[in-house]
């Protein structure tokens, strides 16, 4: 039905997919799996018309296709249920299901027929949601359900489910399984992107494993065991570009203490301590709450209950949901998306860096241009540029990242929170950034970082906290932890992973 033939996709200098070739047959549920950043979503997005491939060919029934927009893909008979929600909150379920193809009667929207059809679409998924309810009032799980209902209501031959069960609970997952079986029975091809092992084994006929943008293996699920699958997903040699981890003295002062914090009303409590001189990583699969934890600590997102305090010379000081106060207290935050949330692209390098140094000054104070300080810092960061006056927007990704981190290093903070410290950065710059972070820690700073690249956390961190469903399920020693061990906890949680580890 669909064949990928040496498909290649790059983002800047980053090779996201490299000569991936997979054949997929009609009437199967085909799992695509792999670690975060392995290229699963990229591969599916090529098929869904979100991106175009840079090389190779995608064939539908032997005919080469290149959808350039989601609408093109839909016309070709490819329906995608995206991971992010595209429902309109102010429209009812029925209206959302038919938006863009509303049934008409006498020139008016035929609400009766719309509601009737919507009702049966929702019922097919085993749900009893009221089709007149506004989507904005639904839980995230129900919204995903509606999204799925819309996706499968399209008359298509190929369906892509991108992590459909991330927000669903058990009975709904069960229904989804029935739906997949029905699609298979009617001869459709279903792609099922997931790293939930039990679903792969229960729902899928075949599984393709991707790693670092390369196709590792495609096998019938019956011919695999769980442990085999996990070891196919992971297992690489650690690269050499991580700075050495110095021995950590016991009893280093606590830099940040988190106790009983909950990121959502119904999520479990999170408690941990971050000590001066250490780099701690939050590991886990995409969307398990690592990001919410780090954003809550930076004061950007509110938390439910719990207490966060920052160690200081004068004793512990409480932090609240206030970014300004948090920054002033000496906690810096580096967001993942440097272009929209991190840097001031039109401003120059020195202006960007200077902004960090002003953190504690009253706003009416005059500042001197600290040429020497900036030059010194730029030297230390090894920023390659035409000079301090160059606009940050003109720099390469790696140099932008260095400027963003450098802004906080220059500001005299002692706790640094990072999201994806090396996203979209070339290998050389990665090593330099790791060096900078280690230097900061060695000088008494404390670093907490979220990363979807497990290897990065394993190479860089002193400790790794594994997060699953908004909860810390394991604390591992960064120097000794193995990739498979972290993945086990991330995939299966505390109890099950423990059993497997013992077996």
């Amino acid at each position: 039905m669909i064949s990928f033939d040496k498909v290649t996709k790059r983002f800047g200098s980053n090779l996201a997919l490299s000569e991936v070739s997979i054949d997929c047959e009609a009437g199967t549920v085909h799992a695509i799996t792999g670690e975060n950043g392995a290229g699963k979503s990229t591969l599916m997005n090529l098929l869904a018309g979100v991106f175009s491939a840079d090389g190779g060919e995608i064939r539908l029934r032997g005919e080469p296709i290149s959808p350039e927009r989601p609408a093109d893909a839909r016309r070709l008979g490819i329906s995608t249920i995206f991971q992010e929600l595209t429902l309109l909150p102010n429209l009812t379920i029925a209206e959302n299901l038919f938006l863009g193809r509303e049934p008409l009667r006498l020139g008016m929207v035929d609400r009766a027929s719309m509601r009737r059809q919507a009702g049966s679409m929702i019922a097919r998924l085993g749900s009893s949601l009221d089709v007149d309810a506004y989507c904005g009032d639904l839980s995230v799980a129900d919204q995903h359900l509606v999204e799925i209902a819309r996706g499968v209501s399209v008359d298509a031959d190929v369906f892509i489910f991108d992590e459909p069960t991330a927000a669903l609970n058990a009975p709904e997952v069960e229904k989804l399984g029935e739906l997949l079986a029905a699609l298979r029975a009617s001869g459709k091809l279903v792609f099922y992107v997931s790293h939930r092992l039990d679903e792969i084994f229960r729902f899928c006929d075949r599984v393709s494993i991707l790693k670092d943008g390369k196709h590792v293996e495609t096998r019938p699920t019956q011919a695999l065991t769980r442990d085999e699958l996990v070891s196919l997903m992971v297992g690489r040699v650690l690269s050499k570009f991580f700075p050495p981890r110095p021995a950590r003295p016991d009893g280093a002062p606590v830099a940040l203490s988190v106790s009983g914090m909950r990121v959502r009303e119904d999520s479990p409590q999170v408690s941990f301590e971050l000590r001066s001189g250490e780099i701690v990583g939050l590991a886990g699969l995409e969307g398990q709450g690592q990001r919410n934890i780090i954003r809550a600590l930076s004061g950007l997102e509110p938390v439910v209950g719990g207490k966060v305090t920052k160690g200081s010379e004068t004793g512990p000081m409480p932090l609240g949901p206030d970014v300004v106060a948090t920054a002033r207290a000496g906690v810096g935050f580096v967001p993942e998306d440097r272009k929209t949330e991190g840097l001031y692209l039109p401003l120059s390098i020195d202006e960007n860096i200077t902004l960090g140094m002003l953190r504690r000054l009253p706003i009416w104070q005059l500042v001197k241009r600290r040429r020497d300080v900036i030059e010194e810092l730029m030297g230390r960061l090894n920023v390659r540029s035409a000079g301090a006056r160059q606009a940050v927007g003109e720099l390469s990704g790696g140099n932008q990242q260095k400027v963003m981190i450098g802004r906080w290093l220059a500001s005299g903070i002692d706790v640094l929170l990072l999201e994806e410290p090396t996203r979209g950065v070339d290998v050389g710059a990665k090593a330099e950034i790791y060096g900078l972070l280690r230097e900061f820690a060695n000088a008494g700073g404390a670093v907490l970082t979220v990363s979807s690249e497990l290897l990065e956390l394993l190479g860089l961190c002193d400790r790794i906290l594994v997060v699953r469903r908004n909860e810390i399920v394991a604390e591992l020693d960064g120097a000794r932890a193995a990739e498979e061990e972290v993945m086990r906890y991330a995939l299966m949680g505390r109890a099950e992973a423990g059993v497997h580890a013992n077996a």
Partner: protein, 309 residues
């Protein structure tokens, strides 16, 4: 209080939006004998009609996530056109002008990505200039048939009532019954998601601005015909008054939420307050100040994400 002011997700209607005009009406009815008189009630209706027609247009733009400050100037220019152009051509020319202004606003906002407030402020100023150029001194003759359409009565019911009714019905059909309406709500809530669902966002937004300008033309025609003379500044207060009516009617200026019923309620609230103050002998200038204060309060109760323009 706060809960009473919280509106429904789609319609923006809250108890307070609906109760306010009724309460005002009862209050005025009980407290003022003049208010009760048929003449005054007909008068209120006429005063409200122009605001109603213009506000319905403003409402459509607001629901699509925009705002149109050029409404008032378009009304003014309509007035100037009606008394200067050939009587047979006045209305078509005015409608064509309205469509042109709407297109400029719409394309400025969508293709050129100018902030709707800045874009419509620009057209507001320009169109006001054209109106003054065309008809510097108030006066002139309004075509007889228009005058008849605006001031005559059918079975004792003033014509203004029919103008209002027709506009409300049309807006209700567009927003509540048609594909266009549903898609306008979708685009107002989230243009990106709406686009992913295959909706032509640019075309829809431009259409909203054109509709708004056209309704301003109709409002201008009615007002000019009722006053019986052209005035190149007669529409000036309407730009902000329509926005005030929106805010009072629970229409979220951030887009995606609002209803015809809300617009009607907002317009009535504003009209009754204005009429009430008139009856109480409040200076017209103070009335403007009260309208401004009302706008501040109503807009202050709406929650937005962004700070700034």
């Amino acid at each position: 209080m706060l809960d009473l002011a919280r509106g429904s997700r789609r319609t923006g209607l809250s108890p307070i939006v609906l109760v306010l005009p009724v309460a005002l009406f009862v209050l005025l009815y009980l407290s003022s004998g003049t208010f009760r008189s048929l003449e005054n009630l007909a008068n209120v209706n006429s005063q409200v009609a122009a605001l109603m027609i213009a506000s319905l247009g403003q409402g459509i733009v607001a629901i699509s996530g925009g705002i149109d400050l050029s409404v008032g100037s378009v009304m003014s220019l309509t007035s100037a056109i009606l008394v200067t152009a050939d009587p047979a051509w006045g209305v078509p020319i005015a409608l064509a002008m309205g469509a042109a202004v709407g297109l400029v606003n719409g394309f400025g906002v969508t293709l050129f990505k100018v902030h709707p407030l800045v874009m419509t402020l620009a057209t507001m100023t320009f169109v006001q200039g054209v109106a003054l150029l065309l008809h510097p001194v108030p006066g002139g003759e309004v075509p007889g048939y228009l005058r008849a359409l605006a001031v005559s009565q059918v079975a004792g019911v003033p014509a203004a009532f029919f103008w209002c009714g027709a506009a409300i019905l049309l807006a209700w059909h567009l927003l509540g019954r048609s594909r266009f309406g549903l898609r306008t709500y979708a685009v107002g809530a989230n243009p990106v998601s709406a686009g992913r669902n295959g909706i032509a966002v640019t075309r829809l937004k431009v259409a909203c601005f054109v509709l708004c300008s056209l309704s301003a033309v109709v409002a201008g025609i009615f007002l000019t015909a009722r006053v019986g003379a052209g005035d190149a500044t007669m529409g000036a207060p309407y730009s902000l008054d329509t926005v005030t009516a929106m805010a009072l009617g629970g229409i979220q200026l951030a887009g995606g939420s609002g209803s015809v019923l809300g617009i009607v309620a907002g317009v009535l609230t504003l009209g009754l307050i204005s009429n009430g103050m008139n009856l109480m002998g409040v200076s017209p200038f103070l009335r403007a100040a009260v309208t401004g204060a009302l706008l501040l309060v109503a807009i202050g109760l709406q929650r937005r994400e962004a700070i700034g323009a």
